[in-house]
Each structure stands twice: as C-alpha cells, then as structure tokens.
C-alpha cells in the first residue's frame, strides 16, 4: 500500500468522532470509514478540502506515502 490515509490519527488529535465529521462535511460514515481504512480508489479535491477545513489541517497531515517493499525502484 503506497498511500496511507491518516484520517483516524487526525480525528484522534482533534478529539472528533467519524459521525461528527460526517455530519459536518456531508459525506456518509460508511464512505469515511472506507477512506479511513485506505480502501478508497481515489479522493476528490473537494472532499480533501472539506476534511482539511473541518479538522484544521493540511492535506499532508492526512495523506502519507509509504514505499512498498516489493515495488520496483525508479
């Protein structure tokens, strides 16, 4: 897995529940849970913007690149 979503870390830092974030940004709890588990196919800029605004953070706080051990080196 190359891109890790650190949404759970940010939620813990802001002491906020997924349900609360869901209500504030209008994205369902199920979709946020999928995002939190890094199982989403892609993330929209609008979603990223809304999360960053509510959690008062930067996109870099939410997304992290972790190189795969098996991935070929460029």
């Amino acid at each position: 897995m190359a891109i890790i979503v650190n949404l759970d870390v940010m939620l813990a830092k802001r002491k906020m529940k997924v349900k609360e974030l869901s209500a504030k940004i209008g994205i369902s709890v199920v979709n946020l849970s999928i995002l939190k588990q890094s199982k989403a196919k892609a993330i929209r800029f609008t979603t990223l913007e809304a999360i960053c605004e509510v959690l008062d953070c930067q996109p870099g706080d939410l997304l992290e690149f972790v190189p795969d051990n098996n991935s070929p080196h460029v």
Binding site: V30, N31, L32, I34, Q37, K39, A40, K41, A42, T47
Partner: protein, 167 residues
C-alpha cells in the same frame, strides 16, 4: 427501458383470445393461461423476501433468466455490506430485504408496463477476510428472456459501485 415485455403481454392476451376462438371448448384456453397467470402472481408475492431466494434461483431456474457477476473487494466484509446497502438506497433500485448475519441483500426493480421486473441477489462471501467476494445475481421475476436487461443492470450496478469508491 424496452417496450418488449409490454408487447409480449399484449401478444399473450391476443394468443389467449385466438385459442379461445379456435378451440371447441373455451375452457382449454383457460387451462393453458391460468397456470401462467397464477405463477406470475405467486412470483410477485414471493419476490420481496430473501427466504424465497432458492425458489427464484434454483427451483424456477428453467423459467427465469439469470445473470451472475462476481468481483473481489479489498473492503472488509461488514463495511462492504453497509456500502452496498448505501449504494442501493442512493440508486433507483429498491431495497427489499437484507440479512446482516449472512451478508445477503435482496434488491430489485419493480414490474411495470415496460419491464418484467427483476430481483438482484447480492451475497458477500467473507471466507477470504482480506478480499471478500461479492456475488451479484439478477433474476427475472417472470420471463425466460430478459432481452439483455439483466446484464445491463448488473453491469451498471457494478460500475456505479466502483465509481462510488472515489470519495
């Protein structure tokens, strides 16, 4: 939507009238058509419950068209179950029944003037806990031929599911 089911219904009525006209005893025509009408009625009553899944998929298999599509997902099974339920509620498909203990869902499209109606059975096989398999089965409520509509609906369901994973 295709007008074919509606036209076939009209053909059935005309067929009944012709048989009625040419057969010596008018009750012979009734003997042919009453079981068909009763079967349609029975299917309409049974279609909305998951417990009659076998009736449509196995026992009535010779009378219904069935289309199956399977795919694997990386989403854990319980979350995948909720995601599919949410997707059905957001679509034009109606949710009829679901069973969280067995991860089974029954959805469908209603019978109308232009469609026979169909049942979509969704079950999640969580044997491989990291990559559960989703089995989609679309069955016509009554009709040997779906005119490819079942396959179109299943393909549409799958593509909208994939699309919904862009959050």
């Amino acid at each position: 939507m295709r007008p074919v089911p509606f036209l076939l219904s009209i053909c059935l009525i005309i067929g009944y009238k012709l048989l009625n006209h040419f057969l010596e005893n008018p009750y012979y025509a009734l003997l042919i058509f009453v079981p068909i009408v009763l079967l349609i009625g029975l299917n309409l009553v049974l279609r909305r419950k998951l417990k009659y899944k076998d009736w449509f998929i196995k026992h009535l298999g010779f009378l219904n068209e069935k289309v199956t599509h399977s795919f694997k997902s990386e989403i854990p099974a319980p979350l995948l179950f909720d995601k599919i339920l949410e997707q059905i509620n957001d679509s034009e498909t109606t949710l009829y029944d679901f069973k969280p203990s067995t991860l089974e869902i029954l959805a469908g499209n209603s019978v109308g003037m232009r469609t026979w109606g169909e049942n979509i059975y969704i079950d999640i096989n969580a044997t491989d806990s990291e990559n559960p398999t989703v089995n989609l089965t679309s069955v016509t409520v009554f009709g040997i031929v779906s005119w490819n509509k079942n396959k179109e609906n299943i393909d549409q369901f799958y593509s909208s599911f994939e699309e919904s994973l862009t959050i």
